[in-house]
Assembly symmetry: C2
DNA sequence: GAACCTACCGACCGATCGGTCGGGTGTCAA
DNA sequence: TTGACACCCGACCGATCGGTCGGTAGGTTC
């Protein structure tokens, strides 16, 4: 309950996060996690009843962390165009903060059945995920309805933005090789924001008057 | 050597492809593959020496299949803008053809170390992958240099396009829920092409005179 | 009919999987 | 002093992992 107690627990979550993000649920063993933490394997089961619950908690923590960095942008009272740009900034920043986040998010988005979930018992982090996506989609739909966006499909554009951000920060050495620079370096992160926003600005926003909300946060 | 021989081999590849695409390398056992094929487990090792070689062959086949559908678009003698649109059409079609392709490609792009590859022995499909990506990047760089594209970063735009296509067709039920329609249905595939090309057309191409290469192929 | 080949199989191997169990140690409250 | 509890451990469990082995059935070739 006290500090040293939750110390081990947090460390387990940290190690497990880094391992799961790289090799997925099935690719990581509890022995490996324990070794990384510096505990005996059986001690892990003192903090987490099963491997699956450990995995769920890792994902839930990562996704809610990501959600926290998006919340201000989603709540901001700006016109849809400015809010979308700010959302992109926040998403890129959120994904760039921990190299594990994008990979975990990507896994949660396309792996649903790597882990054998009971069809009637959706994973506990799914609600968080659904809210994040819903926020994107609502914002886009709003912008389209207001006429400030071209009449795009909110669903498709949401998919595009997720793919363009989450995939980018999840891609491995090979993706890094494409850019020629380390993906997570500060200037490449900034460049990523610029590229995405310029793509959106030229392709989505209806009128050209530069909505100058460049610096968000 | 004769027809009935390669019959089993192809069936193994098919079953393994569908399983690996859903649950990844570590999440699939040879027993499960054998059961799906309708053979004994030990018979698999008659056709493929190890699990890893089976996996590599599955990936190589899927990626070269994808490469084949992109090749005409990459070789076409058109201006960069028209060629890029045609490439998007081909990529979307190629990914939509088999539901397994996008997931396998995505895994190959961000999982590199799910399988424990010898650092000095890159997986045999990597070359194929590198060529596909290189084709994209070269085309974009060419367009930028010719001034027909805005001065985007070829690396970043490549990442964006891969994310926007591969991720989209790899996303599971949850991604499907976003659109409200089945991702692989013919009209949703067409819509995907339209959305992506309109995004590119508005955001990448420098001048607005409609480069009307709508129908490629 | 002997020799050889491909395709397939069940039985088995050592290793590792997730998870359990009994017990040890330290801390804190009664 | 005596629980009670959190934390941790090594030893162990049945199940499953990738992979091997010896052998069988059928088809060709000489």
């Amino acid at each position: 309950m006290q500090t040293p107690a939750s110390d081990s627990r947090a460390k387990i979550l940290d190690i497990a996060e880094s391992l799961f993000s790289r090799r997925g649920y099935a690719g990581v063993g509890m022995r490996e996690v324990a070794l990384g933490v510096g505990l005996g394997k059986s001690s892990l089961f003192h903090h987490f009843p099963t491997k699956l619950e450990l995995y769920n908690e890792v994902l839930a923590r990562a996704l809610s962390r990501l959600g926290d960095s998006l919340a201000p942008a989603l709540r901001a009272t700006l016109d849809p165009a400015a809010r979308l740009e700010r959302l992109i900034d926040a998403l890129v920043d959120g994904l760039a903060e921990h190299p594990t986040t994008a990979r975990l998010a990507l896994r949660s988005l396309f792996e649903e059945d790597e882990v054998g979930y009971d069809p009637e018992a959706p994973p506990p982090y799914e609600e968080t995920l659904r809210q994040l996506i819903g926020g994107f989609q609502a914002l886009i739909a709003q912008g389209v309805e207001a006429g400030v966006f071209r009449p795009v499909s909110p669903g498709h554009l949401t998919q595009t933005l997720i793919g363009a951000t989450v995939y980018h920060f999840a891609s491995s050495d090979l993706g890094e090789e494409i850019l020629g620079n380390p993906i997570f370096s500060a200037d490449q992160v900034e460049e990523r924001k610029r590229e995405l926003k310029s793509l959106v600005r030229g392709g989505i926003v209806a009128d050209t008057p530069a909505t100058d909300s460049q610096r968000a946060r």
